[in-house]
């Protein structure tokens, strides 16, 4: 009867399902390439959860192994999950609301003040974290109202990568690029020689603001006043480059990754990008160099610091903090930090690591750049920064896409930022 054949078919499907499910389950636990590492190395002291924004590292990576080692040193096992960095803030807020925060949270530095303000993070007073060796300009991003809420795992910043072959073919001497007029002149020469000038990221997210800040600060402008004439001149620099064809139209949608991919084609002279591209730069197949981003009238522009902070979220069981503090201290110890920073291509946050890195000629310019960099939430901006950053990138998008002039776009941005930060 038909019903029986249906039943048989369903049973077959169910069996197939069970078999596949079993296969999937088995293969999962044995090779465990997902983000959580095996918890078998820890001691019997319980499981501590770690959330980080490095989904590119799986269970077999050095980072996971380091976490496990720190865990076993502290007598506990670690369950680690890697999330997409743009997601992590909201995941943490939702988790904190439900009392489900991880024990250790590694998160991008500009959101530390937001999370601290939400009451989600503990300060170093509560957890006895030692922040003595950390460079002050890097620690500032994690400070709010005089308290410190985490330790930077490392830092990175922006500089100008240049393609030596393209510059020499265009007859540009890199030593002559010292300020904005000389940079623009170099771009003109490159374009005349048939190549492309400069690429960067001006996308309508925090990445865009991040990339714009060296130029913004390099003009002498301040984030508390977005509509100053210096800010307008910084934005005009970019819009002029676009109009003259020195920078491609795609910068409006570029992330730092896609901007780097443009540079990696070998057709561009300059790319504004960060420390983390060092490994890619070596693979690029052409000779490259680095100069710090010039300020408007000469000198080096202050660049924003990137990089994550290791923080300890608030837990209802406060006796966990003692072990968590040991985990964090282990992660950020000089040797471990050096290894991690090398993997991530970051610069160390402590003098000890920075000195070690400065010994290598590749890294020395970056060590200097990071020393001159400043946090986006410093200058006492704290949680005001996100409310200023969004109007800023909106203004950039409007000006670059031609919907508004730089001055009027920044004017709108300043009103929005002022209203939001009242």
């Amino acid at each position: 009867m038909k019903a029986q054949s249906i039943a048989r078919r369903v049973a077959c499907a169910g069996l197939a399902l069970a078999v596949t499910g079993g296969a999937a389950a088995c293969s999962k636990t044995s090779s465990s390439p997902s983000a959580s590492s095996g918890g078998s190395q820890g001691g019997g002291g319980g499981t501590y959860t770690v959330w980080d924004p490095y989904p590119q590292f799986d269970g077999s990576s050095d980072w996971s192994k380091l976490l496990d080692k720190c865990g076993s040193d502290a007598g506990v096992s670690i369950k680690r999950t890697g999330y997409d960095t743009s997601d992590l803030t909201n995941k943490e807020l939702l988790a904190a609301q439900q009392g489900n925060s991880p024990d250790v949270l590694i998160v991008d530095n500009p959101v530390v003040s937001t999370l601290a303000d939400a009451g989600v993070l503990t300060d170093t007073g509560q957890t006895s974290l030692d922040t003595s060796g950390i460079s002050p300009n890097l620690l500032a991003a994690g400070q709010l109202a005089g308290k410190t809420y985490g330790i930077p795992i490392g830092a990175n910043t922006l500089a100008l990568y240049y393609n030596k072959a393209v510059l020499s073919a265009a007859g540009v001497d890199i030593a002559s690029v010292k300020d904005w007029p000389s940079l623009t002149a170099a771009l003109a020469k490159v374009k005349a020689a048939g190549k492309k000038g400069i690429t960067f990221s001006a996308i309508g997210t925090e990445e865009g603001s991040f990339q714009f800040l060296p130029w913004f600060w390099g003009s002498g402008a301040n984030l508390t006043k977005l509509d100053s004439s210096q800010a307008a001149s910084a934005l005009s620099l970019w819009t002029d480059w676009l109009k003259k064809g020195y920078a491609p139209n795609s910068v409006i949608n570029n992330t730092q990754t896609t901007s780097w991919q443009e540079f990696a084609t070998g057709q561009y002279a300059f790319s504004e990008n960060g420390t983390w591209q060092l490994a890619n730069a070596k693979k690029a197949g052409f000779d490259y160099g680095i100069i710090p981003i010039p300020a408007m009238s000469g000198g080096t522009a202050a660049a924003p610091t990137g990089g994550e902070f290791v923080t300890i979220p608030v837990q209802s069981k406060t006796d966990r903090y003692a072990t968590t503090q040991k985990l964090v201290a282990c992660l950020t110890s000089a040797d471990n930090a050096y290894a991690t920073d090398t993997t991530l291509s970051y610069i160390g946050a402590t003098q000890a690591v920075q000195t070690k890195q400065a010994a290598s000629p590749d890294l020395k310019p970056w060590v200097d750049a990071v020393a001159a960099a400043k946090g986006r939430t410093s200058d006492n901006l704290g949680t005001k920064y996100p409310k200023i950053s969004q109007p800023l990138w909106t203004a950039m998008q409007a000006a670059l896409s031609g919907s508004a002039s730089p001055a009027s776009a920044l004017g709108t941005a300043q009103s929005a930022a002022a209203a939001a930060t009242k």
Partner: protein, 276 residues
């Protein structure tokens, strides 16, 4: 609907069909092209229509790391199908044949239920799942994914089953069969096409779901392929050829399924509606 054209039109139709399909699938071709492209050629101007300096590194990464995710996706897909059928088929039968009072209201509510944006559902589920302890688990994801398919499934089953001739139902009644027996022995076998259609939609929706997977299984041990892609989206860098390669590899089993199931889907969706 039989074609009334002459024989000579057929090869021409096939030709036109091939061109249309090629146009429609061009972005898919481009995706495959990108999956073989080296990182430094990704933004080449002008772009390569064919990956001349191809690389297998994307596929190597995928085959090395992503197969368990494919297994989990398959498990979740099949589980979603089972759950959707279990909930939607009886409901469709009830709305079409048994017609209890208030059934129309329920139908309307089901329509509205589909209007709720996914992220809102996901956030609500997070709280429920946390309390129930099924966060970061495959069964939890199966339940969440089925919410995408159940309202649609009820709609399809109701429409299809309303087209089942009353004589069949009468015959079952005179044989002394109660509603349950009628449902299982008469209605379900006849509704085979609707079953396949709903299964197909449920599977495909579960296969490509991201928002529920991301919110509810972000930290789980068993993750579907849509999350597996995130291995290649690091905090500062993305490996696009690997991302595209993951999509290609993930699409192959689903495409096979589609081609096999097509002939059932054809008659499945709306058999009852037109005769109204």
């Amino acid at each position: 609907m039989r074609s009334l054209g002459s024989r000579t039109k057929k090869p021409l139709l096939t030709g036109v069909g091939l061109v249309l399909t090629a146009l429609m699938l061009f972005p898919v071709y481009w995706m495959v092209n990108e999956s073989f492209t080296r990182d430094q050629d990704m933004r080449k101007d002008p772009p390569n229509w064919f990956p001349v300096h191809g690389t297998f590194e994307g596929y190597r990464a995928v085959l090395h790391q992503q197969l368990p995710y494919l297994g989990t996706s398959l498990l979740i897909g099949l589980g979603t199908v089972a759950l959707t059928l279990a909930v939607a088929a009886p409901a469709g039968y009830s709305l079409a044949k048994l017609r209890p009072r208030g059934g129309g209201v329920l139908g309307f509510v089901l329509l509205i239920a589909q209007m709720i944006p996914g992220i809102i559902m996901a956030m609500g589920f997070y709280v429920i799942y946390l309390k129930l302890g099924i966060l970061n688990s495959a069964p939890g994801l199966i339940v969440a994914d089925s919410t995408i398919a159940v309202p649609f499934g009820v709609l399809v089953f109701a429409a299809f089953m309303s087209g089942i001739p009353e004589e069949l139902m009468q015959a079952a009644k005179t044989d002394g069969a109660g509603p349950l027996r009628t449902f299982w022995s008469i209605v379900m076998p006849v509704s085979r096409n609707a079953v396949v259609t709903v299964s197909l939609f449920a599977f495909l929706w579960a296969w490509s779901d991201f928002i529920f997977a991301n919110t509810l299984d972000g930290g789980g041990d068993q993750q579907p392929i849509t999350l597996g892609i995130y291995h290649y989206i690091g905090n500062n860098n993305q490996q696009w050829n690997a991302i595209m390669a993951t999509a290609v590899v993930a699409s192959i089993p689903a495409t096979v399924l589609l081609i096999v199931a097509q002939r059932y889907v054809a008659a499945g969706v709306t058999a009852g509606a037109v005769k109204d």
